[in-house]
Symmetry: C2
């Protein structure tokens, strides 16, 4: 239930990430690729983790997490996402800069630290990428929250899921700009002076437009 080395934690996390979505056990190769390592290394680590009781591993067939392994993975992910939240919301980092850093910070295992950090950040439910932050007890909410597009930072990609102002006039305006429900877009730049955004392939969207778009952030 605890005491995994930094490296073991990485594998458990990768196993968790790769097994959500795909059905069945995770292949050695997929795991190795995900972690930028060689299959032989992943294979060796699976043996270790199986011995520790954190994964179920049938030779040549792939691996999957046991309940205790999943618990560790969720803990690591919780730490990762809380630190990402901190880095973006408090230190003002951009989205795409925080992953590597969080990858280092996540391996500091100290319940008190993480609980205090959680508190300090206001117990957020989602990280800046829109991914849910597992709770201390290991439960996870699996829904990405809607956000107002005006909150997007440069580099963010998002899918349009709804509008705040659904008046005809506004919807016609959106239509004229080529903005439709379901499209995905990427914010290239935000302009301090008027809040507008430069959107890849769409030119400039004004703050008025952004404030009325409900979006789901993409990973």
């Amino acid at each position: 239930m605890q005491g995994a080395s930094s490296s073991r934690e990485d594998y458990l996390k990768a196993l968790y990430v790769l097994s959500t979505g795909a059905e069945g056990p995770v292949t050695t190769t997929a795991l190795a690729e995900h972690l930028s390592m060689r299959p032989a290394s992943a294979s060796g680590m699976m043996k270790q983790l199986a011995e520790a009781g954190w994964v179920e591993h049938e030779a040549y067939r792939g691996a999957s997490l046991t309940p205790s392994g999943e618990r560790i993975a969720l803990d690591v992910i919780r730490r990762h996402r809380l630190w990402e939240f901190f880095l973006v919301e408090r230190l003002g980092f951009a989205w795409d800069q925080v992953h590597e850093l969080a990858e280092r910070l996540e391996h500091i295992e100290d319940a008190e630290l993480i609980n205090r950090l959680d508190d300090y950040l206001g117990c957020p439910d989602f990280d800046p990428h829109g991914d849910p932050i597992p709770r201390a007890d290991g439960t996870v909410v699996d829904a990405r929250p809607l956000q107002v597009a005006s909150e997007l930072r440069p580099g963010a990609r998002a899918v349009i899921k709804g509008v705040v102002d659904s008046s005809d006039v506004f919807l016609r305006h959106l239509d004229a700009l080529g903005i439709r429900l379901g499209i995905e877009f990427k914010v290239v730049e935000r302009h301090e002076f008027d809040g507008s955004a430069r959107v890849e392939g769409h030119g400039i969207w004004t703050l008025g437009v952004l404030e009325n778009l409900l979006v789901v952030i993409q990973p």
Copy 2:
């Protein structure tokens, strides 16, 4: 000037700490003791660090930092103290709880992270123990600041260096309580409801007294 492993950083930091105060090179045994390791290990590491150009090491004579080694040590110490400040001032940890944690955090080497953290904390000059925080350029202020005793947290030890109210009445009051310039004391407990403190061997000191004592925090 950079790229030392976590372990090497520990040795460089220890070397820095042990060489300030004591004159001449640091002995292998002192180093090992400081890091809870065996002399043989310290000896081997000195060889490595000397090869890297971070320490000057004459066999059987002890080691001392080169300028580039000192630069790294100062960087590690800067990171350590900034994180300690964060843990105490923002997350509300008590003094004595933060050392080990900072010891882990200090090894995350990322200039942008540390500069942003520094900014976020208001570029503090001293950590919660009263030790100076080296600047990004490697300069260090070597004076402990005076603090008002009412700011002391439980567990803090401090030496009385002055008073705010130097009226006769007040000084006689202090005298009656056994409080004199230069004495060292330790705060055992603070009382929320009236701000008073229980002081080891001195009973209770009221907020009115504490607010008028200028102290230097002890390590």
